[in-house]
Amino acid sequence: MNLDPSVPRDLLLSLLPELVLTAWVLVVLLFVAWRHQTARDLRITGWLTLAALVSTAIAIWWLWWNRAGVRGVVSMIAADDFRWVADWVFVGAAALTVLISIAYLEREQLLAPEYYVLLLFGTIGMMLMAAGADLMVIFLGLELMSVAVYVLAGFDRRRARSAEAALKYFLLGAFASGFLLYGIALVYGATGTTNLGMISVQLSVIRQQSAMLLAGLAMLVVGFGFKIAAVPFHMWAPDVYDGAPTPVTAFMATGVKAAAFAALFRVMYQAFAGVPVWHDIMWWLAVITMIGGNLFALGQRSLKRMLAYSSVAHAGYLLVALTAGSAQGTSAFLVYVVAYTLMSLGAFAVLIAKGRGGESDVTIDDLSGLANRRPWLAFALAVCMLSLLGFPGTAGFIGKWYILIAATSAGQNTLAAIMVLTSVVSAGYYLPVIMAMYMKPEPIEAAHVDVRLDRWANAAVAAVVVGLLLFGVWPNRLFDLAKTASDSVHAVGATEQSPSGH
């Protein structure tokens, strides 16, 4: 179904998932204003939130199924398979976050149901970022997402670390937003438009690249680099990830990162495909992010900080997919981001089970002997670690392999080699987790007595494990989805030599 955004009905249709979710947010907000006292209210809010996410996912599915698209017209909203797949990732990440939050909020006495409202606002922001065909829409989405997440990071207001995280994230985030906005302004100055498609047209007309354009592009990269936590713009990430309540950290590490990447892909391919200089920038960014993230992670003793740095490293791998600069790179990105969302959320969920009573500093050694007491949680965390490491049989391997194929077929053999070498380094911090759980005895008999997850968080972990193993062995459907999605972003007719499709 082809949508023409100048017709109101079509415009509404193209924004259907966002509208559905916004309507739900209002419902939830009303409910929260009315009932916000007891743990039971909190639980009901959680269910409403899940219902909201499920209906949004159905709306996305409906558009995807009907092949909704905005084709051939200049529009501020993109409607293509890339957007639908990215939306599914955000909604999935949000839903898993809800599942692991339900018991967490009660346990940590964070009895404020506004938590879920903020989560949904953040999700709408992410969806707008993936939908934006105009720099302004992307910026609006980014701000909507960021503001919600700033608050979420400081949600545990009784703890100084959480407040510190929120403030740090807010100050640096605002600074980065400034960069992004200034970059948009400069790009507008150079091309006279903020629409991605029009920028690309203008650039092909202007031909020569002005300093203003390059400066604008550089600032865009800084702004996005901050949100995806690429080295050297990652400084905030460890402290913020560490200080924020763990479900929020999980949401930031997966949803926020995926959204920023989705927008980055769209901007780079639809607007700046004709400015090859960004490939070089991204090449270096990818290299230092992979090396930096992995080396920093190696030195961490706290599991949460280790996961924070590991998410920096994974941003580096995703940047490799971006640098490849092909449709293949984009579908590799989508496959990897699905895998990464699952494995990262799974790891944080198990961390929630272990870190209770405000004790957020779970070191890797604290997991010693977990496999004796909680074999299922230990197995789940082991699968997540192996997947993060990129071990065959897990989705993480399939994703990494796809990125490697994309990089090598784009001639980026050096980048591929650096990627695998840094992956070897990552074994140095993922394996000790498995080692502690399985190969070390528990320090005291009762070390893991109170380690448990409620039924919903367990369901989330089970879904993660099944997903990781399933996509690790049988990724065919995921590939098909990712391939059509990436083809929809890349200009039609730009056929390239790519292995997939033969």
């Binding site: 071990f391 194929i405 695998v420 074994a427 080692m435 399985y438 990724p475 098909d480 033969h502």
Partner: protein
């Protein structure tokens, strides 16, 4: 019919059985595992008769797996891999039986991992798709990592992570090389496929890239073999692993490296592999392995470490034989691979058995125990002699063939390698003397009990193997010969006609 399903079943059965082992009560785990591995062996035995020596790749199966990348589940067996598959299925029931009383904690997990490991190892030997090969190559890493890390000795954590990281490092570079090969074949033909035959058919047009790719494959396989100076993970892993782990490490895992050279590194990059500098490097490293491995073994106070270093030496012979590329040397190398699996496996079993009684692996803790445990002493003597390569045992046939065959290609290196045989006699006979002869000085040893029926049951099949290959190796050599000849013809066309044939009529 059998040919259609045998390899698939060999790969799938251990996985299913592994799951069952996890689910049954812990006290039944070893029984189920033993039955499962015996069934696995029984399934594999008819391979021996149905295999047609001149038939090339056999028992092939090919299903599409990940169509988008041209990945197939594609497996097959030829004269090179047949015996490695059989060796694997042969050693697995013995390993289960050998762990019977050694493994006391978390039995279910141990035997399940052992079975998963079987799938991984067989998968490596039968994979005809480079992606499948890589997956299997990695898949076997995790069970071994757990086996060393959970059930190993005092220093097991260090050994486990060292083993993992060494192998992982090598294999990831191989992964990139596999990708480059895939893309090269894809752009050249328009068909993107990881099929071994497809990639192989385009490998000669690689040009200068072949050097880099060979280096990546070389590193992965050389770590596994292990070639000096990449061998340092091996003593740690072998010593710390539980008995079954050491047996499988030495018996099968090391062969994956040499198999990789035979199947991938040599046929894919013949010009690089047979260039002067590469030959020189590999032959020198093999020689260092043979002599240095032997010399280091000589000074080991720990019996298990001694055997571990002797593996470095034995695998040096294999590498020398492979690179000499004569019919005799390649067949000899293949035979040494099997022999080493049997003899060193038996040695590790024996050390494990005495360790269970005395809780010491140090040679000096023993002495004079031949009077206390005569059966143990007798078997240890026979196995040691086979490891030294005494005529009449399997070790002799293999090493002799390697030396005779290699002499045509590298006379000086072969002459030096021969000293390795003498060194082997020196360290093993000395150790043997200090363990089972000499006066009985430690009173603790007076109460040692001799081998139990179960332990005899573990050792007898290995002894039969030692003597059978030592006396009548023809059936094995016969089945290997066409594959070895085809490999050499592919690399050095026209050289095999003039070489003496072994296995057919001649001694």
């Amino acid at each position: 019919m059998y040919a259609r399903w045998v390899l698939t079943v060999l790969l799938a059965w251990p996985l299913v059985a592994g799951l069952v082992v996890l689910l049954v009560p812990a006290r039944l785990a070893k029984h189920v595992a033993l039955i499962a591995s015996l069934i696995e062996f029984a399934i594999s035995v008819p391979l021996w008769w149905t295999f047609v020596p001149s038939g090339g790749m056999q028992f092939t199966v090919d299903y599409p797996w990940i169509a988008a990348w041209g990945i197939h589940f594609s497996v097959g067996v030829d004269g090179i891999s047949l015996f490695l598959v059989l060796l694997t299925t042969f050693l697995m029931p013995l390993s289960v039986l050998g762990s019977w009383s050694y493994i006391t904690k978390r039995e279910g997990g141990f035997y399940a991992l052992l079975l998963v490991l079987t799938t991984g190892m067989i998968g490596v030997f039968v994979a005809l798709d480079l992606f499948l090969f890589y997956v299997m190559w990695e898949v076997m890493l995790i069970p071994m990592y757990f086996i060393i890390g959970v059930w190993g000795g005092d220093n097991r954590l260090y050994a486990a992570i060292k083993f993992f990281i060494y192998t992982f490092f090598g294999s990831l570079l191989m992964l990139v090389a596999i990708l480059v090969l895939y893309l090269h074949a894809g752009t050249a033909t328009g068909t993107y496929s990881f099929a071994y035959a497809h990639v192989l058919s385009q490998a000669q047009t690689l040009g200068g890239a072949a050097w880099w790719l060979f280096a990546a494959f070389f590193l992965a396989f050389a770590i596994k073999v292990p070639l000096f100076p990449l061998h340092t993970w091996l003593p740690d892993a072998h010593v710390e692993a539980p008995t079954a782990g050491s047996v499988i490490l030495a018996g099968i895992l090391l062969k994956m490296g040499t198999y990789g050279f035979l199947r991938f590194a040599l046929p894919l990059f013949p010009t690089v592999a047979l260039s002067q500098p590469v030959q020189l490097v590999i032959v020198i490293l093999s020689l260092i392995g043979i002599i240095y491995g032997g010399l280091v073994a000589m000074v080991q106070p720990d019996f298990k470490k001694l055997i571990a270093y002797s593996s470095v030496a034995h695998l040096g012979f294999v590498m020398l034989g492979i690179w000499a590329l004569t019919l005799q040397s390649v067949q000899g190398a293949l035979l040494v691979m099997i022999n080493h699996g049997i003899s060193t496996g038996a040695l590790f079993f024996l050390v494990g058995m005495i360790y269970e009684r005395r809780h010491s692996r140090l040679i000096e803790s023993y002495g004079g125990i031949a009077r206390v445990v005569p059966l143990f002493a007798a078997i240890l003597t026979i196995v040691s002699l086979s490891s030294i390569a005494l005529p009449g045992t399997n070790g002799f046939v293999g090493e002799f063939l390697v030396l005779v065959g290699s002499f045509r290609t590298y006379p000086i290196a072969t002459a030096l390698a021969t000293t390795g045989v003498i060194v082997a006699a020196a360290y093993l006979l000395t150790a043997l003397q200090r363990v089972i002869y000499n006066p009985l000085t430690h009173p603790e040893n007076e109460k040692l009990t001799d081998l139990t029926p179960r332990e005899i049951l573990v050792l007898v099949p290995l002894l039969v193997g030692i003597l059978w290959i030592g006396i009548y190796p023809k059936p094995i050599l016969q089945r290997m010969e066409p594959a070895a000849r085809a490999l050499i013809e592919q690399l050095k066309p026209g050289t095999t006609q003039t070489q003496p044939t072994i296995g057919d009529g001649q001694p």
